[in-house]
């Protein structure tokens, strides 16, 4: 990462002029909210789980957490364990698109799209293809388009040590072959969210306003040019330029001084304040926790300040070989995740890593729960999907996905339950439809590949 250069002009022009948020916070804090603001968060970690130590024991409403989720005990009443969700047929071994890509890759690309990866000649082998990129829009991007939340960021993608730029590192897609990359540098996220220079009626900044006006002119000129060029290219390239145009329009408002008109509040124990930043070296595995905490602080602030209502938060990449020396462990995560033994060093190491991830989620949930919104908290008004790309790690299973929801989506989800679909497994399409319904896209009947079942999950509300 090149260091930001804090020249006088760059303070105005560069990343730091991206948005103007902080002065508005006061006003937001006192605004009452009629209907709850609902948020959707995806929180992913790599390399599956160990079912025997993941799922609660007990009944739907009276259950006991097991070691891999024990750190979530304080939020038990706000969790919904969903046992019995499988990736749909198109993502399963040997079926339909199920030969496209490894389970890690498929589980990543299919997690939020419920679609197989594209076939393609990108990865050709002896008569057995692997895959291309994701083949359709992911639910987060669908909801961003569909709900057009009045927030500064229609959606936000954050990552921690994702590093990889291949198919196994992309969960969010705006369309087929259009992965949405996450932001991995907390300093960059901070700049975008809490970027310094502002101009308000009380404290006008003429130079900044001139910059905004210039930007507006350039947006108008170049967007019109893109529209002209679109008429001159073939259909597929037109789609690519259309995505370009959509992206430009998506960022335009916040770069010309208009923040979103979101009405999130940030009263209570937590406040919608600028997080404190420290320096981390993103290349050092041992600073994973520090980098992650900064990103979680920023993510929580972005949600609480109503800078965005749709957020993906991605730890590392699927099949991650991240090291956990800071937990006193040797060996890399993926290798450890395949240990078959039912005891021994790797068995314990895997438990330690998975529990550590649960601790990170607990930290994030605590943050969200600290922001009061009327009688509820931001967490109560959120539907958070905790996910990983495969099920049982040793077998690359995609039939029993370790999915857990956190939060109540403003009353749309009856949390504090352990739902076991038992002998009647559900397709991940249904989960994504349920999330859409929880977010207010009530009329969505199906999402993703046709091989998956339609409609929402039963009995969630």
């Amino acid at each position: 990462m090149n260091p930001l250069r804090f020249t006088r002009r760059n303070l105005l022009r560069g990343t730091l002029a991206a948005t103007a948020v902080v002065p508005w916070l006061e006003a937001r804090q006192v605004r009452a909210t009629a209907a709850p603001i609902r948020r959707f968060v995806v929180f992913t970690m790599p390399n599956g789980t160990r079912n025997s130590m993941f799922w609660p024991t007990g009944s739907e409403t009276s259950f006991t957490l097991q070691p891999l989720t024990a750190p979530l005990e304080p939020f038990k009443s706000k969790l919904t364990f969903l046992r019995g969700i499988r990736l749909n047929d198109s993502l399963q071994n040997g079926a339909l698109g199920g030969t496209l890509g490894s389970e890690h890759a498929r589980g990543t690309g299919g997690m939020l799209t419920a679609r197989p990866l594209n076939s393609g000649t990108e990865f050709v082998s002896f008569g057995n293809t692997t895959s291309g990129w994701g083949s359709g829009q992911s639910i987060d991007q669908y909801l961003a388009d569909r709900l057009t939340p009045p927030t500064t960021f229609k959606s936000l993608q954050l990552g921690v040590h994702v590093r990889d730029t291949e198919v196994r590192a992309r969960i969010s897609y705006s369309a087929s072959n259009q992965p949405v990359p996450p932001r991995e540098d907390p300093q960059d996220v901070f700049s975008a969210l809490f970027g310094g220079a502002t101009s308000t009626p009380d404290a006008p900044n003429p130079e900044l306003e001139r910059l905004w006006a210039q930007r507006k002119s350039v947006f108008d000129l170049t967007n019109a040019e893109t529209e002209r060029v679109m008429q001159l290219v073939g259909a597929e390239d037109r789609g690519k330029l259309e995505a370009h145009l959509n992206s430009m329009r998506d960022i335009e408002q916040r770069l010309v001084g208009a923040t979103g008109t979101g009405t999130g509040t940030g009263t209570g124990t937590g406040t919608c304040a600028t997080p404190t930043m420290t320096n981390v070296d993103l290349a050092v595995d041992d600073q994973y926790a520090q980098a992650g905490q900064l990103q979680m602080d920023l993510a929580a602030a972005a949600l609480a300040c109503d800078q965005t209502r749709i957020l993906t938060f991605q730890w590392s990449y699927a099949e991650s070989e991240h090291l956990f020396q800071f937990l006193g462990l040797s060996g890399n995560h993926h290798a450890i995740s395949h240990d078959f033994a039912s005891s021994g060093a790797n068995y314990e190491a895997y438990n330690a890593i998975q529990s550590w991830y649960a601790e990170q989620l607990a930290y994030f949930l605590a943050k969200l729960d600290s922001y009061q919104e009327g009688d509820a908290t931001v967490l109560d008004n959120t539907v958070l999907l905790w996910a990983t790309e495969i099920g049982e790690s040793t077998s690359h299973d995609l039939m029993l996905m370790p999915y857990v929801l956190a939060g109540g989506a403003g009353g749309k989800i009856r949390a504090g339950r352990f739902i076991d679909y038992g002998n009647s497994p559900k397709d991940n399409n249904q989960l994504l439809v349920s999330i859409a319904h929880a977010m207010g896209a009530d009329d969505l009947t199906a999402f993703g590949d046709d091989s998956g079942a339609t409609g929402p999950l039963p009995d969630l509300a």
Binding site: T15, E122, P181, L232, K240, D285, Q325, N332, H338, F340
Partner: protein, 564 residues
Amino acid sequence: MRRTLGLLLPSLLLVLYGCSGGSNGGGTTGGVESGASTGGDPPDGEVRPTSALCPSTELPRTPLRRLTRFEYANSVRDLLNVDPSPALELPADEVTNSFDNNARVLTVSSLHAEKYVLVSETLADTAVQNLAALTACDSAARGEDACALEFAQAFGRKAFRRPTTPEDEALLMSAYTAGRTDGSYAEGIEVMIRAALQSPRFLYRLELAPPADAGQALIPLDQFELATRLSYLIWASGPDDALLDAAARGELSTRDAVAAKAREMLGDSKARVAVANFFRQWTSATRLETAGKDTALFPEFSSELRDAMARELPAFVDYVLWAGDRMLGTLLTAPVAFVSGPLAELYGVAAPPGSESTPALVNLPENQGRAGILTQAGFLSVQGHPDQTSPVLRGKFVRSMLLCQPPPPPPADVDISVPDIDQGGTARERFSAHLTAGASCNTCHSLMDPIGLAFEHFDAMGRFRETDDGRALDVSGEIFEASDPTLAGPFIGVRELAEKLADSEQVRACVATQWFRFASGRSEAAADACSLGTLQDGFAASGGDLTELVVAMTQTDAFWYRSL
């Protein structure tokens, strides 16, 4: 129907010599001559190849190419004469099949859009600090508007890689006005630069020359589009004024002329950086930046060592391509290294004077059996796990990137775990399960492991070792199921492997295929048979000259045409 590469390549090997063999005397580029700039029939006196594969009757769709971050940085460096490092704020490009320039997936997300705006502002700000270097026009004498228009035309031509149209000039002048209103002349120029850098005409390599008729399968490029392809092929940057002038004069109208121009451009230092980028990606050296090692096992693996590893490959490529014999064989076998910082110690050689930060050439100890790129510490670190070597990854690299026979993915329900290093023993012992566990593992792993195990004298960060876990190492290996019979039979150690590979037609054809993917920003398909044949033929005819491989791309139909 989809043809797999494994089938395509061997068949090409058999027939590629027929591709152009009847029409040329075996010149160094394959000599496929056809006037293509105007489409239709070749001009008099030029002969199209007549084999079954050539000429191409169709091409796969050629997708619109967005500049990669690397191309963006080089382009703004050449346009504005500024330090391009602000471009590093752009998101890293998605990697497909080892390369970060596959056009299909290079799109513009909101994050890209934001960075395009902000980076252009930083660059334009820096550029106008030295306005005199950007434009010689004397605005006091000639008037600001006249100078602004002159700049719009000259700068616009370079930024958009073709002469500006009245519409281009109107756009740029509107941006100028937006800056000049309430601002200075320099600020007007600054906003004009921003608008140019945010224009789709800069960010994409647009190819819009219309087909001669609606149904035309192969659409010829115009001179400026050819100049742009040539420039990004060899410089990874936009055409300079001289190249645009040549295009304006119509000097890129024959394949011979373009080959000559390509050779001339290879003499420019810009070509070194650009060509090295191919080798970095081909060997996945780009992943070194984020490669971690267990520091309990590899305490020496510091950021200084990693940086030194990263500096070695470009220095070595420079040595082979620009100071040496340019041969693929040398790239694969030369027992030399370029050391800087702590890398000398890792290789067990004395650090030459001045090698603290600048890579210096050293001969490697004979007894280590090192050979070219395959035993560079950076390569061995990337093709390994954080805690142990990976015979599988090393073998897979040879199989996929040098033989173009990627192994099939593991079957369902197979344990693909890496052995627990704590179980002890050598890697050969630990990985032996692959080769004894029955056909399902063996089929695939016999293609990789017997190659990768030959690398075992080098640990997970590329340091030479006599033993593993206290036991002597067996580095015998074998390449099974290669298409090229000269590759068959056992060998011992990486040196012997490298020497086999260096002499193999299959390897030469595969390297040409890799270059094709990189050069065209897409995967090959059946309709590329003529182009691939031309490229492989040209490379083979040169005896494996890597700079001639670069040139040979300009002789392919894939280079001369586009397809909707």
